[in-house]
Structure formats: C-alpha cells, structure tokens
Symmetry: C2
Subunit: 111 residues, 2 copies
DNA sequence: ACATTTGTTCGGTATTATTGAACTATTAAA
DNA sequence: TTTAATAGTTCAATAATACCGAACAAATGT
C-alpha cells in the first residue's frame, strides 16, 4: 500500500472536480463529509444511498475524490480518516464547490 | 430524425449537470454559448480545444448537454441553433451553474 | 429531381467502471 | 512472537460508456 497521492491545490482542475461529483455515490460522500463536524473513515460509507457497496468500489470512489483534490485522507491506525479540502478549494475556485453542495442538498431534501 | 428531447426544469438533476460538465469539450461548448451574445449552431464547434472533432462525436456531446437540461436546441432551417438555459437553471439551482462557468473561465485564462 | 449542408443514428472498437478475490498494513490478543 | 482481526488497496475479469467512421435523414437551394 503506497502512500496516498494528494494533488497540490494548483494541480486541481474544474473538470476533475466535476467528474468526481458526477457520480451519485461520490457527491453523496462529499456532501456528508462537508456536513459533518468530524472527519470520517471510509467504512462509514459502506451503506450509502440505500445500497450496500463493496469495499473495493468504495475504495475507488475515495481514490477519485482524493485525486480530484476534493478530500484529504490520513491514516490513523488501521483506518483512513477523510476530510474535505473546502477552504483551499474556496480560495482557488470561489463559491463553486459550496454552490454545488448546496444545490445537491436542496435537491435531496426535495426528494 | 425524431424531435429533440428537452427535460422540463423540474426533471433536471445536479448529477446530470455535473456529468455533462465533466467532459472538457462539453464544458467548453457551454461556456462558449454562455459567453456569446447570440445562439450558435452545432458546427460552430467542430474545432474546439485545438482538436478537430468528428461531427458524430459533437452531435453526441450536444445531445448530452441538451438531455442534462443545460441547453436548448431549435431547428432553424437546416441547422440547429443552441442556447443555454441559464435563467431557468438559476431559478432551480441557484448560483451553481454560474459559479462553475466562472471557475472554468478563470482556469482557462490562467492557462 | 439532384446536390448541398447540417445533424442524427448505427455498429464496431476503445476506454472506463464495477466488483470478487487476493493482498498489505496496522493493531490487538494469545 | 505467532495469530487473528480490522481497514483499505490492488488485480483481473466483466460490464457499461464513449468515440467515431459510415450510412442515413431533413431542410434548402439549384
């Protein structure tokens, strides 16, 4: 298990972010992380969106979020704890990420 | 050639929009349409992003933008003229679409 | 009618996504 | 110090999408 790659803030692209968000599971994970007080490990999301996901699939989704520059994953013992990079992202991309998450949450509430 | 499908505003989803924008060609087309005074036909974009695109590929990209609810295409004689649905989208999704396009344009300017 | 222009559809190929199984890394227990 | 348990990654096979050339369709002009 090699060290996890996190892009520098200047390497992050709009298309990369949008691609990461274009998957329902991934935007749900990110929205959940953004709404949460504390960082969460990956397994927290084994059941998301009313479907049980295989952990290999979940691992890929986290990798895509991480390599798009949206989240940071740090090893803490046997698990990874994940947090968003919202502050950095706001500096570089303005209100984009927040506007996406707010639109998504509004949509979810509307059912 | 059957009539072109355009979703109603309430059928449009955040994920659908983000998927449509996740392709560099498509976000470029949309940004160009949004920046333009007048609507444009599809062939305007046969050369975009320094690469010549086959018209079948371009047609698919327009279909995806259209079915995501981002653009409206109307037949005018032998061609289709395309325009964004920015006003409707703003009513439903707030500043999301504008924030995405502004972040994208800023990125493009930065090279 | 015939040609031209604009765009769509079809079908084969190429790329990307999903996931079970095997593996790695860390911690705890025996 | 093995042994087991937990958390997550990697691999490889399959499934789903995307790309694009060729044939087609629709509207207009000659």
């Amino acid at each position: 298990m090699r060290t996890l790659y996190h892009p520098n803030i200047e390497e992050i692209t709009v298309e990369g972010i949008l691609h990461a968000f274009s998957d329902p599971v991934r935007i749900d994970i990110f929205a959940s992380l953004a709404a949460s007080e504390c960082a969460k490990n990956c397994s927290t999301f084994l059941n998301i969106q009313k479907q049980a996901l295989p952990k290999s699939t979940l691992s890929q989704h986290f990798r895509i979020l991480r390599e798009a520059g949206l989240i940071r994953s740090e090893r803490k013992g046997v698990e990874l704890i994940n947090s968003t990079r919202c502050e950095e992202l706001k500096d570089r991309f303005g209100p984009m990420v927040l506007a996406i998450i707010e639109a998504y949450e509004k949509q979810q509430k509307a059912g």
